[in-house]
Symmetry: none
Subunit: 134 residues, 4 copies
DNA sequence: GTGGTCTAGACCACG
DNA sequence: GTGGTCTAGACCACT
């Protein structure tokens, strides 16, 4: 389920954070649910427990997960809301990226096509999920 | 013209690279033109000359600028083409970003609006530039 | 009557101790009185009996409660005196806190007001208690 | 200047944080000023550099200090304001403490006396500081 | 020189 | 079993 790209320039602990956040936003891991323990995660990813600890405690600071010593880490009840707001706060970065691509001669319709295809994919997946729940 | 954000997490030498690349793509600095010398740049930005040297030599490696010993650094004649291709190679990252935003509940029309407004701005600026050149 | 804050950083067994001590100081539980058995307490709080055991044996060590084998746990006859002395020993911490607040620009009159309001509240409650006992 | 109490129950990294915050509030370390490097601090306190790192990065997260990689850590320009607000947010804890002491039979005038003596001390020290600056 | 990341391995407190 | 803290020592990127 989780995986690390050792060649990536983004730190391992940040990769863990990003993956967890994505799973929570995709509701693959639900609010209130327990996430893998530090030791489990460090075994699965073959990284040092301290590295997982760093990732988890940063998410704790952000209010995404909560540690219950002796029991484990749990997703906060308002994790999705926090994550969604964080993305919205970063829309400025998206504007910069689009501007750069426009400068580089990428056309508006190219961008539209990419966006359309992604939203199509997501709608399809949502449908499957809905069918499974029936 | 150039400026450094000391609080930013991106290294100074990378900030210099990014700004130069943007100026070249925007044709604020034209192909064949000479860019500020390492000395000038380090004085303007109040950074260590070594830092500017690192930025310039990376751009040299990429084929964006060329050092002409005894004269200075000049923008390569195919700098724009190289930069545009580099952006195109990074479209994958754009897909990921859009996917994340979709997960976070940002609507397709919101993204469309942002893109539209940026392309509008650029068209307006191009027109002004054209008028000035007449 | 008792309750546990699972999200708190203070250990569960310490929360139990604190609550019992507060109840004894407030004379909600009187000296000589029997307190809930380990079993009862663990059921009411939905915590592991071992946790309650740890809390009780620490209070036992402090001389606040005594185990009477086969009967249960009882509040010692000098529990209040012991607890009051313990608080007095901690006045040094109070001094530090006040000092910190003074550094942070909290005025003397603000502190006075807080103290006044608390002593008012307690006098009011004492009166009610007295009336009820009549 | 800095010191660690190895016997204390509060973690070493938290002791470092607390001391730095106190120095900043007392203006012994001023806003914008550089604080001891991780290596310096770890040598002075005889603790592992990682422990200092943890303290510093928590303060960074709080917005008290800012890391400038390759240069060091610096006190943020609004550090005092942040710290003062944090203390104010914790007044609730102060209320609880006063309540506990009231229960334990500590009189209002005892508390008043403590507060008075602390404010006297601080006024005296401020005067000395003022005289030194003349 | 600075901070940033990571590993390996240890001990403790809690449940 | 869980998380929390700490040490020792390493390598990297940046200035």
């Amino acid at each position: 389920m989780f995986s690390i790209d050792a060649m990536s320039r983004t730190p391992v602990y940040e990769q863990i954070e990003n993956q967890l956040e994505k799973f929570i936003l995709s509701e693959i891991i639900r609010e209130g649910e327990q996430i893998p323990s530090i030791r489990e995660m460090s075994l699965e990813l073959l990284v040092n427990p301290n590295t997982v600890t760093k990732a988890y405690s940063e998410l704790d600071t952000k209010g995404i997960i909560k540690s219950v010593p002796g029991k484990g880490y749990f997703v906060c009840s308002d994790a999705c809301a926090i994550l969604k707001n964080a993305v919205r706060d970063n829309l400025e970065k998206f504007r910069c990226d689009v501007h750069d691509m426009a400068l580089a001669g990428i056309t508006k319709s190219e961008l539209y096509d990419i966006i359309d295809s992604i939203f199509e994919d997501m709608k399809a997946k949502d449908k499957v999920k809905g069918d499974n729940l029936q």
